[in-house]
């Protein structure tokens, strides 16, 4: 099982969402994708996408202006 990191700090709509999807498409079942970003709406929208895709949202954390979202494919 691989752990894939996606850094979208400083990126704005729709890049965090798109890069998350790209990484999830490339990942194998069971892989963990961690997305790190700063665009506030994406912190809410990436979990929505994860739910729509039927994947597992493992963790959402916020530290200052930076959020981290962990997803299991």
């Amino acid at each position: 099982m691989a752990e894939i990191k996606v850094d979208v700090k400083g990126e704005t709509c729709p890049v965090p969402l798109v890069e998350t999807r790209k990484a999830l498409r490339k990942a194998s079942k069971g892989d963990i994708v961690e997305v790190i970003g700063t665009h506030p709406p994406s912190k809410e929208e990436i979990p929505m996408a994860v739910k729509a895709l039927g994947m597992e949202l493992m963790d959402v954390q916020q530290e200052g202006g930076v959020w981290r979202i962990k997803i299991r494919r």
């Binding site: 969402l17 999807r21 996408a49």
Partner: protein
């Protein structure tokens, strides 16, 4: 069956093309299929070297407004239309070029970026796809 988003891009305006691509990429990212039908002025943007050439839909002011908005987009770190289009294709988005527009405007297939176009179609193709779509927009 996967949910679908179908967009008609009738406008060739830079800001409207940008909205169409952002919506389509959002749909693809959230697990939907997406296709964009480039028709009328929208088809101009599929011409070789035409993607970034669109005017602003309002307050273009002979290009001054467009220049200002572009500058602000850059400052806000918004990605380019080319990047949005490449992401759209990478996530499996489909591009359909309107054949009637090509005939009216005298556009030949070789004038267009054929590597991006998945299909050439008319209204029937759109209706067939739109009737199975959860979201359909005319931009």
């Amino acid at each position: 069956m996967t949910d679908k988003t179908t967009i008609i891009l009738h406008s060739g305006d830079m800001d409207k093309l940008s909205s169409a691509l952002i919506i389509a990429n959002g749909a693809l990212s959230m697990g939907m299929e997406a296709s964009i039908y480039f028709t009328f002025w929208g088809l101009e943007r599929l011409k070789k070297g035409g993607l970034e050439k669109g005017p602003l839909s309002r307050m273009n002011m002979l290009g001054i407004g467009r220049w200002m908005v572009k500058r602000r987009m850059k400052k806000a770190n918004m990605v380019s239309l080319e990047r949005l289009l490449q992401d759209f294709k990478e996530l499996g988005g489909k591009i359909i070029a309107c054949e009637m527009t090509m005939e009216i405007m005298g556009v030949k297939p070789e004038d267009l970026r054929q590597d991006l176009i998945d299909d050439y179609g008319a209204v029937g193709t759109y209706i067939q796809e739109a009737r199975e779509s959860k979201i359909t927009l005319f931009i």
